[in-house]
Symmetry: C2
């Protein structure tokens, strides 16, 4: 069989066809099952159907390669040989299977799973006989029925129903025979047989067909359902959020069942080799005696902390601690594992790199480096750049917390502070968030159906489930604040209220949750800066002694050593500049001069300038603005203390500065001694059909050179004054919206003329640069002509995205929803650079620009500068720097360092 025809990879008995590096083909789970098998860990035998089959399945009208059936049968035979059981055996212990999805990247809770496959009315008897445990056998059968019915046969909650139909049957029986809160494990074998019987009727009613009894038919159905689940709504939503290509597909893992529910000497658990919430080096997880793994993660029964296992199952626990050590050493990373103990014997069902919060990532990376397991460059890679900002998020203010009313407490599952209005349902939470409300999603437990609500919420609170529950897992991954298992809280979905003790809170009431301590407070709480902000920006000495602060500073230091791409900041004031420098910014990449126009009474001078009828009047108004602008620039140069500052000349259309209402226009007219009609007429004259494409950027200064002259004079007078005061300056004057080389030529003539004039007047001399913003496609396409004169380029990726896509950011709201639904934009192009379109132009501009001026300095200054994917892209283009808002500087530095390390 040619390798390209190999669709099934076996593992078991210490041998495996695949390995840990084959995630693309075998998925993460399959690759790790093979890897664990190879390194001698106890893994139940099985096989993986490759992701290639998934791609084939969708490319060929949901059919399979012709040789697949035979290969699956070979896989089953292999399992039968290892175990000594037979699939579908109705006499002896039957081989039972689990069927699980497993994509290249973990998609927790997204994909469907079927356990105990192979049971029917005959094999259940054989199982009962072989185990001598009739109740166990029937409970397996009941579970299989329920999962298969849901996942494969589609017997699911209908509109108007509050729970899964199988659960309804169970709840009804419990209430009729016992009471509603009795545990599944307290049902007797007759109860369970009755449930199975009722399930059969339910399936027949809902699907019109009998439940399939042939194990091979069951297997085929389950495999098809896993592949089918790759395209279900939850999976699509998840992939969209995490930019996972649909082409990857999922693998299917078929594995011999082991049972944690054969009695008190059995159990199941999930664990992390270190604490994924805070990074502490402690074995962290939960287990349930006499239960299957699903019981642990589903959050239905609250499991026991992993440490308790030492008392209940001491031998297995010893073995598990050894596995923990082997896995961390082997994978050199924190592992997230699933295991089952069947009759005292440990089986490993899964291992993968453990998702962790940003805080945990920071500590784990620092500790692993200290322990010598990884080097510092790998330490950089272990910190997820897109979550780093969580470390800077505010925490609850100490004083506010002292006087706050405690509502209850739960398990701290996602650190941080979140206040918001509570919502008890994902749809309403999503709607409220879309309305601009800050939202806490409160649920008994969460399930994949709640995903949209979790994305929308600032914080998540559940009453059931532990730190490995769905809620906790997803919250950590998304960086959401989360408390789970707050069992003192009762949730009434129908009344839309939650109750604890005597207090009742209804939907829309404010609560506050501290995901670091696990405490829930009433109302909205004041917040305080995180230790990192306190230490870096406010010079709080106590904060600087914290481990978190020190690990952060160490990480930034590593980034500084590794990165090739520089990071600057967009700042319009000295304060912003100072904050960014504290975060390690290497200068300012964008000063928007017009941001200062609205301060104090200078807007009057701006308006006077715009309303001027003659050059002389306009120059008079500009003269009033000059000292203000000079003062602003002086402050910025001082704050930079020798770091470079890229200062953009006036960019927005003039009408943005004029009042639009008649009343304001009358006020303005009075102030300036003009008629209100004159003002109104000028506003009308300046109105534009498409201001984004109108009279702005350098076009303003080409029709009114005196505006540029004033601004340039302000820059150079301020710089000259600084030089006289002994402050080093590196002004870089940036001409906006250049598309034609001649535009740049005309504007740079003004800059160089005024600069020379001011230096002569002030009797000082210093270096400066003149460059341009590349923000219309033509600027990129004519980059060689422009670079013949310009000393630097800065991509204005916001406007470049608007013009390249032909999409106005202000107007895209009307179709963005439909576009997201239809999967048209791989990601929001205003959040992350559209590499195919905008990126192509950036590449063209970089190549053309450097072809005529190899030392051309190139950066970006759009909002994309703080987006990790965009930073990676800028690194790959060989840009000199990105510029982003001050608080995104650490993220950009980390992303830049990661790109450099990954590129080595």
């Amino acid at each position: 069989m040619a390798n390209s025809d190999k669709y099934v990879y076996h593992f078991g008995n210490g041998k495996a066809d695949g390995g840990g590096t084959m995630k693309d083909l075998l998925g993460g789970k399959g690759a790790n099952l093979a890897e664990m098998t190879s390194i001698g860990l106890p893994v139940p035998p099985g096989f993986t159907i490759t992701t290639e089959v998934c791609r084939y399945y969708y490319a060929n009208g949901q059919t399979y390669p012709s040789t697949l059936d035979a290969q699956i049968q070979e896989g089953i035979t292999n399992c039968e040989n290892i175990m000594g059981y037979k699939f579908g055996d109705s006499e002896n212990f039957p081989l039972l299977l689990s069927v699980r999805s497993g994509a290249r990247e973990s998609m927790p809770g997204m994909m469907d799973t079927v356990l105990n496959l192979g049971l029917n009315d005959q094999t259940v008897q054989a199982l009962a006989k072989a185990t001598g445990n009739e109740r166990f056998a029937w409970d397996c059968y009941r579970r299989f029925f329920q999962m298969y019915g849901d996942v494969v046969l589609g017997v699911q909650k209908l509109e108007g129903e509050d729970e899964e139909p199988f659960e309804t049957v169970i709840h009804k029986l419990k209430e009729e025979r016992y009471h509603k809160d009795i545990l599944d494990s307290d049902l007797n074998v007759d109860d369970i047989k009755d449930l199975v019987s009722q399930f059969k009727t339910l399936v027949k009613e809902r699907t019109g067909h009998d439940f399939p009894t042939d194990p091979w038919e069951q297997l085929k159905g389950a495999i098809g359902a896993v592949f089918g689940s790759w395209m279900n709504d939850r999976a699509i939503v998840y992939r969209r959020k995490y930019h996972i290509p649909a082409e990857w597909g999922t693998a299917v893992n078929v594995q011999v069942m082991v049972y944690g529910n054969t009695g008190e000497n059995s159990g199941s658990g999930v664990a992390f080799t270190r604490n994924p919430a805070n990074g502490i080096n402690e074995f962290y997880g939960e287990f349930l005696i006499n239960a299957q793994g699903e019981d642990v993660v589903a959050g239905v029964r609250t499991p026991e902390p992993i440490a308790e296992m030492a008392a209940h199952l001491p031998e297995a626990f010893e073995q598990l601690l050894k596995v923990r050590e082997i896995l961390e050493k082997h994978y050199k990373n924190v592992q997230d594992i699933e295991f089952t103990i069947q009759d005292g014997k440990l089986f490993m069902l899964q291992t993968r790199n453990g998702k962790r919060t940003a805080a945990a990532a920071l500590k784990i990376a620092a500790d692993l480096v200290k322990e010598g397991l990884i080097d510092w460059k790998t330490g950089i890679l272990y910190n997820p750049a897109d979550q780093l900002e969580q470390l800077l998020a505010p925490i609850f203010d100490g004083k506010a917390v002292q006087s706050a009313v405690r509502v209850a407490s739960g398990l701290p599952a996602g650190p941080g502070a979140a206040s918001g209005k509570i919502y008890l349902n994902a749809d309403r939470a999503e709607a409220a968030a879309a309305n601009g409300e800050r939202v806490l999603l409160v649920r008994l437990e969460t399930s994949p159906e709640d995903l949209r609500g979790m994305i929308a919420a600032d914080g998540i609170l559940t009453c059931r489930g532990g730190v490995s529950s769905h809620a906790a897992l997803v919250a950590r991954q998304m960086g959401k604040v989360c408390i789970c298992g707050a069992s003192a809280i009762d949730v009434d979905y129908a009344a839309r209220t939650i109750t604890t003790g005597e207090k009742t809170y209804k939907e829309g009431d404010y609560l506050s949750i501290d995901g670091t301590s696990g405490i829930i407070y009433e109302g909205e709480l004041l917040t305080a800066p995180s230790e990192i902000i306190a230490g870096l920006i406010h010079n709080d000495e106590a904060a600087r002694t914290t481990e978190k602060f020190q690990n952060f500073v160490q990480l930034m230091d590593w980034c500084g050593q590794a990165a090739k791409l520089g990071v600057r900041t967009n700042a319009d004031t000295p304060d912003q500049a100072a904050a960014a420098i504290a975060f390690g910014a290497q200068g300012i990449g964008l000063v928007r001069t017009e941001h200062m126009f609205f301060e104090g009474d200078r807007i009057d001078a701006v308006r006077e300038m715009i309303l001027a009828e003659t050059l002389a009047e306009r120059e008079k108004a500009l003269a009033k603005l000059l000292p203000h602008q000079r003062g602003d620039f002086h402050g910025i140069f001082k704050a930079l203390a020798g770091k470079p500052a890229t200062i953009r000349l006036l960019d927005p259309p003039l009408h943005e500065f004029l009042p639009q209402s008649r009343e304001q226009q009358e006020d303005l007219a009075k102030k300036l001694g003009l008629s209100a009609d004159h003002v109104a007429r000028r506003v009308t004259e300046l109105h534009e059909a498409n201001p984004m494409l109108g009279h702005r950027g350098c076009r303003l200064a080409i029709s009114h050179p005196e505006i540029a002259e004033m601004q340039v004079r302000a820059i150079f007078e301020a710089a000259a004054d600084c030089v006289k005061e002994g402050i080093e300056v590196h002004p870089e004057v940036m001409i906006p919206l250049v598309g034609f080389a001649r535009e740049f030529e005309l504007q740079s003539e003004i800059v160089r003329r005024i600069a020379a004039l001011v230096m002569e007047e002030k009797g000082v001399s210093f270096e400066y640069k003149v460059g341009t913003m590349i923000e219309v496609p033509r600027g990129a396409l004519a980059a060689d002509k422009i670079a013949a004169q310009a000393e630097f380029f800065s991509f204005g990726t916001n406007d470049l995205t608007q013009t390249t896509l032909g999409v106005s950011r202000d107007d895209m709201g009307s179709f963005f929803g439909a576009y997201t639904e239809a999967d048209i934009y791989p990601q929001n192009p205003f959040a992350s650079i559209d590499t195919e379109g905008v990126g192509s132009l950036m590449k063209i501009a970089t190549e053309k620009g450097r072809s005529v001026r190899p030392e051309l300095k190139i950066g970006i200054c759009g909002e994309h500068g703080g987006d990790p994917a965009s930073v990676r892209f800028c690194h790959s283009l060989g840009l000199d720097y990105v510029s982003c808002s001050p608080y995104r500087v650490p993220v950009a530095r980390l992303a830049a360092a990661q790109a450099a390390v990954a590129g080595n």
Copy 2:
């Protein structure tokens, strides 16, 4: 001397360093003087200073190459040797020189000229002595003084002055001693000596320096002035209009003077070897006895028709007729010549290809092919594409002319019909035209200063000067209607009136001029279609028998044989389609479906659709539109009779269809049974900050697929009905504003689904295509992805220009003036494709698109489709077709054929 150091090219005595092919280096005049010398025509000796010197001059701070002086001296020596005279000789006949500019392309009247250089108070005596004609010598001196004073010393009209200061001196003397209308030639030698004396005072007063007396100094000054004139305002305006790069530079031609003003056996003239106004094969030109060439072209004295020369100077005329024949045979084209007869001997001063009207070009090309001088492909090249539309311009309606009041008549110098308000000054004419008025510029005579006014005017009328005057020459070149030499008209610049007989017309009154007959009418006259329109569109049999019509049809036939690029039309109605097909369009390149939305009462259904709150309501409104759209498409398919039609789905934003005023909104609300507030709210909701970049194009149909479904159904139902009626159809459905492949995928799914449905319903089957408009830069950059699915591309160059340049056409008025002044746009990018920017994207899209689909059909459908330069560019990219408005089809066909011929 290395060739690259050769800056001076000699000619004379039958030998020349240069030749006719060296126009880039020697300019047109210099190359032709060399060529004429080589083929044995009588040319006064001289030399040409190359255009390279001009480039050097501007690149090196207006200085010259170090070896230039020596080379010029060598040139003078060569002339002295041929003539036997000495430069600056104050004893014998002195060598006198003309110094003229000469660029690669002729720029009539743009550049400055100095004649009789070498005269001073001493050499004038020598000249008088040698010629025995004191009056002649002093008249030469006077002329030299006047030209040199103006051109080199800058003694020119000041603000507030009505005429050149030298002319004022002359007019004053004439009025004091004789009367104002006495001719220059009637002044006696003392008069002239007094004039020279007064000129000296004038120069001293105006410049502060004495007039230079050293001939070498004079020569240096004149050469510098010619190079300097390359950058004067007139030259810059002219180059901007004709897209001549400033880098070309001008050459300087220094040539030995010959004199047409030595007496009654001398004269000067200009002539065309055929009639440049109508193309008739007749010797066409004018001459003046006892005059220099400048007297002929300046329009001061009205010259005599060339045929009269046979009587006055029979031998020279015979010789001239031979030269005419030699030149046409040698150059294989109509020549525009200048000559001087000195004492009965003919000298050729210039030859160049004669500028001609479109009508003349049509006939001349046809005749030259018939005569076997050129082949038909060259015949195509002889028709200037950018003037072809003149042939389609209306002529005055016969009936209107019969009842019209004749004002006067003059020489027909630019054929066609023009009505407009008269203006007597270029500035006022330009301002009025900018105001939207149709303008006739009326002047005694025109000069280069009038150029802006001539560009702005629809027609030009002068009272002095013949068919070779500045006015006539420029008008023919620009395709302006022109009558010159209408001597019955008196112009009073001060009163701003013109008078003929008893009638007076003031500025702003309407006149009408027929540039074909030379007759001037009162008021605004009705027009009728040209012979070509009458013949092709109205099937007027009489028109079809005219030579003009037949030459036109023959030209279009040649174009059909030569062109590689197809021509389609933009048409929204069957009438437009029929007209375009009569002009030879090969199909429709763009049907804008929304153009039909405003017809009849269907706008109500459109508005109902937009105001609908639910899908069901919207579908109801769309169902009302369906039969209208189907009917429109049926008519178009029928008119096309099997030719392809590219139909674009709805493109503009919906708000364009809603009424904006409260009153109209109330009317609409009443009609649709809605509240006015509802309508107003919807209008507000749909308002966009930048509609150009908003919810339009395929974005509309992605959020509202039902709109596309209706339009596609209408197209395919109409097509199916046609097929049933036996009419061949080739629908090409075009998806607008595609930037992402997925957009196209979603929309083409709708098209293919509905098409299959309709074909099944109607029981017919036919081929069709689905393609897209490339009109945002991203579409071009992702062309490979899009072409994987799209069967054709059509560049929407209007929007592609707006997005690539980041310029809104609606808003550019506020800065376009400043941009033109500052020479930023090489041409209006909305008139002619910006090849550097937009063109780069077209190239990228074409290459990427064809890399995945080599047979991809590619065209353009912006307004650039009818612009000759843009058509040439499209040919060079290898596009399949251009699509333009129906009346531009012949222009596009001609430009396409020329590109193909020139490329061979």
